[in-house]
Amino acid sequence: MTNDSPYHRQSPLRPTTRRDFLWSSGGGLGGLALAAMLGRDRALAAPSVGAPAPRAKRVVQFFMAGAASHLDLFDYKPELVKRHGQPSDFGEPVEAFQNGLGPWLRPLWDFQPYGGCGKLLSEVVAPLGDVVDELAFVHNMTGKSGVHSAATLLQATGFQLPGFPGAGSWVSYGLGSLNDNLPTFVVLPDHRGFPSNGVKNWDAAFLPAQHSGTLVYPDAEAPIADLHPHRAGAYVTPAGEADAHRLLAELNRGHAATREGDQRLDARIRSYELAARMQLAAPEALDLKAEPEHVLRLYGLERGPQTWPKEINAEEETWHFSRKCLAARRLLERGVRFVQVWSGNDNSFPRRNWDSHEDVRRDHGPLALGMARGAAAFIQDLRQRGLLEDTLILWTTEFGRMPSTQGGKGRDHNPFVFTNWLCGGGIRGGITRGESDAFGYKPLDRAKPTTVYDIHATLLHQLGLDHTRLTFRHNGIDRRLTDVHGRVLRELLA
């Protein structure tokens, strides 16, 4: 019987089954279990023909939740200053998320040139002026949706739907760990809560669970979940713990001895040794008190915690963001592969993220200054330790904000254009590649925007991974971080 399938008329498709570049069993059958757990299976990262030479070993991603305004921070538009207050005219119909298409709104802060490159930066991110010669700006980033959830997922995982691994999970899967005693991929969330989609921005999805981002709260009593016994376990004593580990290993070895040929059993015995070591290594890595005074001063942390006012303020934002930056540096130094640092939580009231529909000055002011102080200190700190050259830094957000005003003081979503910057790890500093148009409304060259796929392709490239070959088969598709897109942004490379 035939029907209207075109396959009854033609036979176009290649009938071969594509072979996995990487193993994709999910660690199910023992043989690879130990190696996979340790993330040390060099087969995963084995250089293959055409693989790029690695320029970076580790990555830090700064993510501004809520959508940071490119116009008020990094992407100076004199045209907006000139036309401030005039009715906005985009030359085409515009669909804005909350119809925030009021008059043109000039940048909320003044811009000045910084560094040898003379890049114009807003005074609210002035601390980044000290390191601007290390930064490469991309002002023609474009997204697909002006809805926070989908847009955040897109920038974090390369897909607009939940159910895909975060960029850090892919890097963990592709390169494994540099230090078995610490997690490979660490997430430092905003202390007030998660961004849109919560853990879906950084979990392993279909990759094996050990590639999930591990949540770390540097200042919390329990910085990593279950690192130490819950208070319900008051009966656990240090002496008992040592004996328990010994006896557990002994009994598990006896069990494994009668079940030869199952490496998972051995891997699990080993996982308890690593767990014990992580219990020592993690608190040491997160002990910010161990930092000398001059480092604390660099990060603006010398005054210690304060009682902060109820209203959002720059000192408090600096404290929290810088603590995360300092923790990130200590983790990276000790072999963590990928650290994701979030600024801002989900959309709730009072607003504590970058989604400044109502008042850019009120929210962006403290958030941006805190971020700029922390990030600038972090970059200087890495530089003086010689870590900047093989640590890639990516600053991003889910989309930009409109050049027109919403309600006089706020700005609506702009999924059409926004800014990323990169730094370190073989990135050429002091440059801008990719411009937005005169209003910062869309890319200057609308036919050639930069996308998250390009950013991710570049990131993997610097790590020595070909983004088209780092794949995992799931539900019938060889999934990639870059889907079916992505171009390495060679113009950004040193």
Partner: protein, 988 residues
């Protein structure tokens, strides 16, 4: 244009003569090979196009097929691209050398000559439909050699590979394995002892029956099913709101497995239960399947369908429904054909959009139904009676309407218009709430300059909140004043003419009728600021407010001088776009005839109709209307309906309207170029996979068929006995959960990117046996677990391992690590605290903070001693954005994605979770208390604890070491240690 040889037309126009067709193989093929073949040949088929296969070259390609129009080079897309005639697309792409003029001339001449292409000059391509999973399920006879057909199939393959099956597992191993497989719980030490001591030959068979009959069986297998359909109790995405009515679907699945619902019916109910089995309340709950996956709240509730982002959100929502339905029931990856034809399987883009059309009327929504079948039946009967009543009334009136003519039609139009509302979004100004009515609130407008005022208009707002509707928040007592002083301390003028009806007495809710003060002649008003002060507020549900849609101030010329002017107020709620001070002067207010006007219209309509009816008819009409009232009263007296979160017609207001307003008419589904909602192509009718050839790919439904018929057609298609995918899919899933791996390793993908069956004959035999035996899952379980293949030991035989290290041929059973839920349930079973209460809303092991906006689900703050959390894991409330951290570390299924097979990872974080989590430490203490109560002395307590944890007594050496540890560090510490044993976590 008359049909005839194309070249003739061309020749008559004198464009090109068919005199010298270039030789295809000598002249044309080399051009195509040199410039096109790299991207459109055997290696790649960009755009689904290739130039080495005649059929594809002439008819194929995604965007512009057909690319060749024989006889018409100038109109052929291929020629336009290579000759530079198309400004949009140029081939070969930039960076590749363009065709030489001579080459272009050859192609032109060849196409104009009718593109003659000898068949022998075409590459051969394998038939894409020649794929195992698309072939009909074969009726296979088991080979001889073993009494159990499964063993016969397995051993034939083993023998061919020179392998032997492993020895049978010992009874203790077997009962532990079977208990976890069929119920997800360990056997008690007593059950183990009884089984080990039972010499009867049917001991195992009885054990199987006992476990299959246990209510725990449905709970265990429902968890597998919920993995596949990605069930969750929150929406996911931004704000991740809870779904309080998702659980009836979860309970439905548990009941379906416990009652051994025939599989075809199980499938049909989940896709179209409401249509196919309207008498069954369960069939409504089953539709929770369609809504099981995540949902983008903001993309629906804050972005209308008219915006691109709103279209995208709804497109992706349907995508999820399609992927869930075809992946779950047919193991097909149709979602890969969203942007282009499937790259590996014969699934064209049309198929994908045909399936989107099946779900085009639906949204995810709370569906009312009555859980009590008797009430459900009564409600249905009432619905039927009401429909019949409406139909009888319509039939009776039809001739009168015809007779009454345009007069009636006009009245009907006027009445319909009176139901039309004003702005749904920018509703107006809304004060903060007050606890008492007698709270003073004011709102005022700054006109910018002192103005001589003719009239001041207060336009009431409308809001469906608590059923209030028109006149929402309109003050009960108020006054209107004008002053040049923004503080209203000096020079205040009162609009006094209607002062007594608004300030001295309660003003009745005006509906949508605007209120106006007296004119300038009466009130003599002039000033810059206009203030409305409410002294008695309008009631809301539990509080009082002041709201207005619009404040208009007209001058003598009738201009609204308040339009767009700044608004201040004592207080306000600013709630997104809907309620904002600025809305008071935005020129938008709901409008419509007053209640009185509407009543007058209706009365007039009655008169007109009556005139056409005649006395007898009018009497009959009155009777029918009395009947309608009676039915309505009876319907109103029904118990409040239950709700299930399911696929259905959404009757919404505001931005998320759904299709309810159109009576559930399906949204038009277009084929989207590259999957982009901004590039809709032709309309697509509902249907299914064209590669499944027993039925046409497009359902043969009338265009105006109700939406449910589309789903019913899909349900029937999926469960057709001839379906090559459905029956194989389910038996493979069941097999996987019994052996740790399916006969096909990729249960969600039976396409070319998936696995091939390791035992194709066995797969087909099982599928046919299952299908023809009435689709009994319990019979399938029985069949599998009674095989010797299932019952063999999991011990590794080095020789066999050398031949078949992956155990594909099943020369042993596979050792499996318990899944997260089974670990948790086994811990509770050991501690003696497992609460076996079934069903109902999920238990929560988190604290919700800030529930009003974006709920934070905080697990760390939950009390691990809360006995409500001691129930089985299947009843856990599953949050998508903040997955349970402890379960996640143990590879729990991610509710945001479809999981056909759990991954099995091992990590230090997992070790920490099992050592230190509050749940483990709490239950270890209960575990210790239990064994203390059950055995008098330490040795007995240790032995009992060991037996409860791993199903056997400790060896003397183990006992000695364990007792020593317990003596030194206490029984709770010992119990915690036992819960960390490999032997506790792995099932031999």
């Amino acid at each position: 244009m008359p049909r005839g040889p194309r070249w003739l037309g061309a020749a008559l126009l004198g464009v090109a003569a068919a005199v010298a067709a270039p030789d295809f193989e000598r002249e044309v093929q080399p051009v195509l090979a040199a410039h096109c073949l790299k991207c459109h040949g055997p290696e790649k088929q960009k755009g689904g196009y290739r130039v080495d296969v005649k059929a594809v070259a002439l008819t194929g390609g995604e965007g512009s097929a057909p690319n060749l129009l024989p006889g018409n080079a100038a109109g052929s897309p291929l020629f336009r691209y290579v000759s530079g005639a198309d400004p949009e697309l140029r081939m070969p792409p930039a960076g590749e050398p363009p065709l030489a003029p001579a080459e272009i001339a050859v192609l032109r001449a060849w196409i104009d000559a009718g593109a003659p292409w000898p068949d022998h000059a075409s590459a051969a391509v394998a038939d894409p439909l020649a794929w195992w999973s698309l072939q009909p399920v074969a009726r296979v006879t088991p080979p001889p050699g073993a009494p159990h057909p499964i063993d016969a199939f397995i051993r034939t393959r083993l023998a061919a590979a020179g392998l032997q099956p492993a020895a049978p597992a010992d009874p203790r191993t077997l009962i532990r394995r079977l208990s976890f497989d069929l119920t997800g719980l360990p056997p008690s030490p007593e059950e183990i002892a009884a089984f080990v001591a039972d010499p009867a030959p049917d001991a195992y068979a009885r054990l199987v029956e006992r476990l299959l009959a246990s209510p725990r069986h449905g709970e265990r297998w429902a968890r597998h099913w919920l993995d596949v359909v990605h069930y969750g109790d929150t929406h996911g995405y931004d704000k991740d709101k809870p779904r309080p009515h998702a659980w009836p679907y979860r309970d439905y699945v548990i009941r379906a497995f416990n009652s051994d619902k025939p599989y075809a019916r199980f499938v049909q109910e989940q896709v179209a239960g409401d249509v196919l089995f309207p008498e069954s309340p369960e069939a409504v709950e089953a539709l929770g399947f369609i809504a099981a996956g995540p949902w983008d709240f903001i993309g629906h509730a804050e972005v209308p369908e008219t915006k691109t982002d709103g279209k995208l959100a709804r497109h992706l929502d349907r995508d999820n429904m399609v992927a869930n339905a075809l992946g779950t029931f047919a193991s097909a990856t149709v979602h890969c054909a969203q942007c282009h034809h499937h790259k590996f399987d014969p699934i064209p883009q049309e198929d994908y959009y045909r399936l989107q059309a099946v779900f085009a009327a639906l949204d995810r929504t709370d569906r009312p139904y009555h859980r009590d079948p008797a009430v459900h039946a009564r409600a249905r009967r009432l619905q039927t009676d009401q429909a019949a009543n409406r139909a009888a009334l319509a039939a009776l009136e039809a001739p009168w309407r015809a007779a009454a003519g345009p007069a009636l039609a006009e009245l009907d139009l006027a009445l319909a218009a009176s139901a039309a509302r004003g702005p749904n979004v920018r509703r107006g100004y809304h004060s903060a709430t007050a606890a008492t009515a007698d709270t003073v609130k004011w709102v005022q407008v700054d006109l910018g300059a002192s103005v001589e005022i003719d009239r001041i208009w207060l336009l009431p707002a409308s809001d469906p909140f608590n059923g209030i509707g028109d006149g929402f928040g309109f003050p009960v007592r108020f006054k209107v004043e004008v002053s040049d002083d923004p503080e209203f301390r000096t020079g205040v003028q009162l609009a006094w003419i209607r002062y007594d009806v608004t300030f001295m007495a309660d003003f009745p809710n005006p509906g949508l009728t605007p209120f106006s003060t007296g004119g300038s002649k009466d009130d003599g008003l002039a000033g810059r600021h206009v203030r409305v002060t409410a002294t008695r507020l309008a009631p809301r549900k539990d509080d009082f407010i002041f709201a207005l849609a619009e404040l208009k101030v007209t001058d003598r010329a009738g201009n609204n001088v308040a339009l767009g002017k700044p608004v201040t107020s004592l207080d306000a709620i600013e709630s997104g776009e809907r309620w904002a001070r600025a809305n008071l002067t935005d020129g938008l207010a709901p409008s419509g005839p007053s209640v009185e006007q509407q009543a007058a219209l209706a009365a007039r309509r009655e008169e007109v109709l009556r005139a056409a009816a005649g006395a007898e008819g009018w009497e009959r009409r009155a009777a029918l209307r009395r009947e309608a009232e009676r039915l309505a009263a009876e319907a109103a007296a029904l118990p409040k309906p239950d709700l299930v979160y399911a696929g259905g017609i959404h009757h919404g207001t505001g931005t998320f309207t759904g299709t309810g307003a159109s009576g559930g008419r399906p949204r038009p589904i277009h084929l989207l170029a590259r999957g982009q909602v901004t590039h809709p192509g032709r309309l697509v009718a509902p249907g299914a996979l064209s590669a499944v050839t027993f039925a046409p790919a497009t359902f043969e439904l009338p265009e105006d068929a109700p939406e449910g018929e589309r789903r019913a057609a899909l349900a029937r298609w999926l469960t057709d006995p001839r379906h090559p995918l459905t029956w194989r899919s389910i038996v493979n899933r069941v097999w996987q959960y019994h052996f740790g791996r399916g006969l096909v390793e990729t249960p969600d993908d039976f396409g070319r990117n998936g696995g091939q069956p390791s035992h194709p004959e066995l797969l087909d035999w099982l599928a046919a046996e299952f299908r023809d035996g009435g689709g009994s899952l319990k019979a399938l379980h029985r069949l599998i677990v009674t095989s010797e293949t299932y019952r063999q030991s999991s011990a590794v035989n080095p020789a066999a391992s050398a031949t078949d290290a992956g155990n594909t041929l099943l020369w042993r059973q596979n050792r499996r690590r318990l899944e997260a839920e089974a670990v948790r349930d086994a811990v509770l079973a050991a501690s003696g605290r497992l609460d076996l209460a079934m069903g109902g809303p999920g238990w929560r092991d988190f604290v919700v903070e800030r529930p009003e906006h974006s709920p934070h689900y905080v697990y760390a703050k939950a009390d691990p001693e809360d006995p409500a959390t001691f129930r089985r894991s299947i009843y856990r409330f599953i949050v998508r954005s903040q997955t349970q951290p402890w379960m996640t570390v143990l590879d729990c299924a991610d509710p945001s994605m479809r999981v056909d097979r759990r991954s099995e990872s091992l990590s230090p974080l997992q070790a920490l979770a099992l050592l230190n989590n509050g749940f483990i430490l709490t239950q270890a203490r209960h575990f210790a208390a239990r064994v203390t109560a059950e055995a008098p002395e330490l040795a007995g307590q240790v032995a009992r604890a060991h037996a409860l944890a791993v199903g056997r007594a400790p060896s003397p050496v183990e006992a000695a070491r364990l007792e020593e540890f317990a003596r030194t560090h206490g029984l709770p510490a010992l119990c915690r240690l036992l819960l960390n044993l490999n032997e506790f976590l792995f099932i031999d």
